[in-house]
């Protein structure tokens, strides 16, 4: 079995350069990817990305090259590039590290994308709370403009492209790409029905590439070093490295970068330093709040799109939240569900009402006041939300609920019989 070590590709500059100095970035080969791209035709650039088999790091893992190609081939003249930097998934802090530590990498990636798909304008929609990211990006953009790396006739070519940073206003749902576009247009941040997808009907109704920060950060490397090199990293299905935000009951919670396919166990016990105080691991929430609960016997799963999909989970943002034997699963799920109830946009019925109903049913479980049918009711509601909700927010609530119920059923049943356990008694007071 392959031995995994941390592998810094995306993070290679982070901590090593002064993110407020473009010179530092240039000294380390920055914007060489853009230079390389401008020497080739847009179709060739798209071809290179396709060949690299880069997949979107926002969670869905859609092939990036294909997305770009759809926009490149669009009949509409005006196209846009939008970077989804509205990082709101609980336990996720990877994009922030990139934007704060190496902002030019994102700008370079977006500019290459703009060239490849024929866009003249791009937007970086940054989570409003990320004040430092916003400041550093704005500074980097102005430096890039001064050096002719953004703006009119970039690097003496015929290609003109510029970027704007827009701050979100504290809605998780705006991390959903169509809600993000609505918000970017100045409207209420409500998701659109898909299809049409943003590649056909995006910002102001024009074809738009919406890519996650981490996805775009891969692009300069691919342009410099080629698709073949890129495919040597990671797995055949999910090439490249991945940023994994590690949090929860760990000795060294932090952001690590490793090749796709690194086993979850390696992330937890090697890179994360294991659990503090020698405690036993009870479960892991993988991929963020919209992710899946994994049991201790599933720790050998390789952390890539395909492997996680095969066990009914998802890579999501790559976030790994570890909880130990002292945590109450119902309590953890309560946090997850109250997060969704708080962040539901209110637009469609299944999610608007479903989230609060789930929360109330879970409280019945916790109080021991419900009959066993409560669990079936929960699954009925999550099923409706999965198939009938308008956007991925509502659709994904089923994953944590179903996996928690499946893997920790006995804990739910004991709560139903005996009422709150000591752990949730402690936190219920916090809730109240």
């Amino acid at each position: 079995m392959k031995a995994f070590a941390e592998k810094k590709v995306l993070l290679s500059n982070v901590g090593a350069i002064d993110p407020e100095r473009i010179e530092d970035y240039l000294d380390r080969g920055g914007y060489e990817g853009l230079r390389a791209a401008l020497k080739r035709s847009p179709a060739e650039v798209v071809g290179e990305i396709k060949e690299s088999r880069l997949r979107g790091r926002g969670g869905a893992g859609f092939p990036t090259g294909l997305k770009w190609e759809l926009v490149l081939k669009s009949r509409a003249k005006t196209r846009y590039v939008v970077c989804n930097a509205d990082e709101g998934e609980p336990g996720t802090f990877k994009d922030r590290v990139l934007m704060e530590g190496d902002p030019h990498r994102l700008i370079e990636g977006m500019t290459i994308c703009g060239y490849a798909v024929g866009a003249k304008r791009g937007f970086i929609y940054v989570r409003g709370e990320y004040a430092l990211s916003i400041r550093r990006l704005e500074r980097a953009i102005s430096q890039a403009r001064q050096r002719g790396l953004l703006g009119r006739k970039i690097l003496g070519s015929d290609f003109s492209f510029d970027l704007e940073v827009r701050a979100g206003a504290g809605a998780y749902v705006c991390g959903e790409e169509t809600a993000l576009l609505e918000s970017l247009e100045g409207k209420r941040g409500w998701p659109r029905i898909r299809p049409p997808f943003p590649v056909d009907y995006g910002f102001r109704g024009k074809p738009t590439v919406v890519n996650n920060v981490e996805t775009l950060a891969n692009v300069p490397e691919i342009m410099c070093r080629g698709a073949a090199w890129y495919r040597t990293l990671g797995t055949g299905d999910s090439p490249g490295t991945k940023l994994y935000p590690l949090s929860g009951a760990l000795n060294r919670p932090r952001l690590v970068e490793a090749e796709m396919g690194v086993p979850l166990r390696t992330l937890i016990y090697d890179f994360g330093g294991g659990l503090p105080g020698g405690r036993e691991l009870k479960g892991v929430l993988v991929g963020g709040a919209a992710g899946a609960f994994l049991a201790p016997e599933e720790l050998d799963v390789p952390m890539d799109f395909k492997s996680l999909w095969e066990i009914g989970a998802g890579l999501g943002s790559g976030a790994v939240l570890v909880f130990d034997e002292t945590a109450c699963v119902i309590d953890v799920l309560w946090s997850v569900l109250s997060f969704f109830a708080h962040e539901a946009c209110g637009q469609c019925t299944p999610c608007r009402v479903g989230t609060v109903i789930l929360l109330s049913l879970l409280e019945k479980v916790q109080n021991g006041s419900g009959d066993p049918a409560v669990l079936e009711k929960m699954l009925k509601v999550t099923h409706l939300m999965k198939v009938a909700s308008l956007c991925p927010l509502g659709q994904s609530v089923r994953l944590p609920v179903e996996t928690a119920l499946e893997k920790f059923r006995r804990e739910f049943e004991s709560h139903l019989k005996e009422g709150p356990c000591p752990q949730c008694k402690a936190t219920t007071e916090v809730h109240a």
Binding site: A171, R188, I193, P195, A341, H342, E343, A344, C345, G346, Q347, C348, T349, P350, R352, V353, G354, T355, V356, I357, L359, S360, E363, K377, K380, V381, L384, V387, A388, S389, L390
Partner: protein, 894 residues
Amino acid sequence: MGKLVKLRIDGREVEVPEGTTILAAAAAAGIEIPHLCHHPELSPAGICRLCLVEVDGRLLTACYHRAAEGMEVHTDTDRLRRLRRLNLELILSDHPLDCLVCERNGTCELQRYAYEFGLEGNRFRGPDYDRQELPAREDNPFIRYEPEKCILCGRCVRACEEVQGRGVLDFASRGFSTRISTGLDRALTEVNCELCGQCLAVCPTGALTERARRFRGREWELRRVDTVCPFCGCGCRITLHIKDDRIVRVSGGYRGFRLCVKGRFGLSFVHREDRLRTPLVREGSGFREASWEEALDLVAERLLTIKGRYGPDAIAGLSSAKCTNEENYLFQKLMRAAIGTNNVDHCARLCHAPTVAGLVAAFGSGAMTNSIDEIVDADCILVTGSNTTEAHPVIAQEILRAVRRGATLIVVDPRLIELAEHARFHLRQRPGTDVAWINGFCHVILKEGLWDRDFVRERCENFEEFAEVVERYTPENVEGITGIPADALVEAARAFGKAERGMIFYSMGLTQHTTGTDNVLAIANLAMLTGNVGRRSTGVNPLRGQNNVQGACDLAALPNVLPGYQKLADPEVRGKFERAWGVKVPERPGLTVVEMFQAALEGKVRAMVIMGENPMVSDPDISHVAEALERLEFLVVIDIFPNETTRFADVILPAASFAEKDGTFTNTERRVRRVRRAVPPPGVAKPDWEIICELATRLGYPMSYSGPAEIMDEIASLAPIYGGISYGRLESGGLQWPCTDPDHPGTPFLHEGRFVRGKGRFHPVEYRDPAELPDPEYPLTLTTGRVRWHFHSRTMTGRVAGLQELVPEAYVEVNPRDAARLGIGDGDRVRVSSRRGSITVTAVVTARVPEGTVFIPFHFGEAAANALTNPTLDPRSKIPEFKVCAVRIEPVGK
């Protein structure tokens, strides 16, 4: 029509135009897909998620996703039924189950689905997540909002934005706390809401309802009567819902639900206690009740005496644009056949007489050329002298709809009216300078070669004389006269010149001038020059102000024509009427409205019959009208309420309102629609047509009809444009004249292929100054108009509590710069004076009016704008210059 796509829905093959939604395609196949947030007249939202359907195992949103070729759609599988059932359970989990006392019981769409899906009990109902007690709100006169009953379908939000262009309502907060709200939760009356009630018309539940209907009758107890709204010329079809002979609520409207605040909420005047219930006869300084016999005998006796002593032309009659076609026909017949004079006129004189004079001269017909339905397909719309949003709300909605679909809107109006906010161009001319800018438009269009040469050559005449005159109206010259910047004029003219389908709308702002006829002729020139006549979505469209002002003109409540605009001067025409009426038809044209009052002052007119008009508010220079009415030897007024004019009467006869009689109205687009009796008249009041018949009979000219249907048959036999109209045909909907025979389908737009007069005639018109210009003594220009909350002289709307409360009194709009110079603050009392009189009103300081111009709504008898206006007439159409006169303003000591 575009391409068709073929698909199968539940096994049924359906073919629909490309772009049709799955939901609409299913409906076309007779399959109803459950839905709550969707409304066919609004954009799709796709948020209730009830309309999900299965297509190849995938779930698609039927109200949003489009039908595609070869699609195999399943709308009613077990899986879908389970999902819908559960979804409904979720919606109902926090919905108050007070159907017992809910106004929408029986018509609630949620209730209907709950029943259809057999939702007994609810697995998810619980106190834990009930929406916090949200109190019902009644923060405005008409609309009740119960947030607990709201299912957040957003129809009201979309109706407000998409239909009314207001955007007053929106979603607030998020998640489960989401609710419908105004900005900062303020009352509807504080957020520029028009209270049109489009929101409640589309609400699927009892969340938004009419305040006035509460506990006044459940839907199945209500009797429904289809009739026509009695307010403006839009002439919307409405349905009155009645219980115990009282109107409980109003529904219907344009495209099934669109009404304005007056049509939806302004009909309670019908049931007011102060309706005239019995004939009244003057006794000393007051009136006493009398029987019909006594009152009618008295009227007949006095009229016969005066006719005997001074001749028939000593009697004059004012007919009414509020009364039915049949009543107007009979009224002019009363004047012409029973009394023997052509002295009959009505308020059209004060609104569209120049339109009739001008458009008859240019086109051969004075009517609005095109139809309301065509507006949405126009690609350029020019609105001038019409505050459409307030005076013709439904037409303004259609203009907005066209703008939303990409039409260019040009507004030429001194005031910043609401349509101007949606316009590409807003040109603010000095009041009374319309000929100049219209000629300027023609100048630019000619100069830039944007005119329609083929149309002008083949279909028009007198072009060279016209071209010679407009040659002088260069943009620079026009700027000097009108104050419209030359470059703006050029750009707007270009936009109109380039349009494929250009539609012109105008109203009193163009006609109520001493140059009214010239203004209309100039507009007709512009339309002909650009080839915008005789096709769909084009035309010259004068908007008629009253519900039946078109019909009153059609049926010849005018001194110079016989019904159907047949020439009085033509002996053959007179002969036809003489044979039908059995008496000689007087040949000499009669007096117009303003001339009648002048003649009364001079002692030439001794008696008047006034039916449903209130000249003491609506006519210019009111003190002059009062003097004239005082001088009359005899005045009989037929009306539904006592008003400013009945005070001068010798006999007052109580009439039935629109809701209490049968008949027809003809709206601004020439559409004849049935008016139906819904409730009995109060007291012994009678329909006007019955009163006229009884009076004519007493005057020695027996009139007897079995009812309005028979009167319409007589009209059809005499007036060719109404030749094919009968009550039988009107049962199935309205008909637009000309409708010449029983098989004629009616005419949506006029002058197709050929103008009514043969060739369209260009009339060279030169600019002339208004009759009265500002001077040092009276330095400001006064212009008058309407507000949306009131109608005409407020005989009706002044008696609707909510409307009266919203705008209780007259005011004057003053530009902030003028106000600063004059030391006037917003809300101050000011005296406005002209050479003819003065009134005291409240000042509203606003940039809606340009510097140097002030505006007063004319509705208010207590502070009548028409005490100030200038009665100088347009020489051709005899319309007075309501829209321009010189005034001064001074603060009144506080």
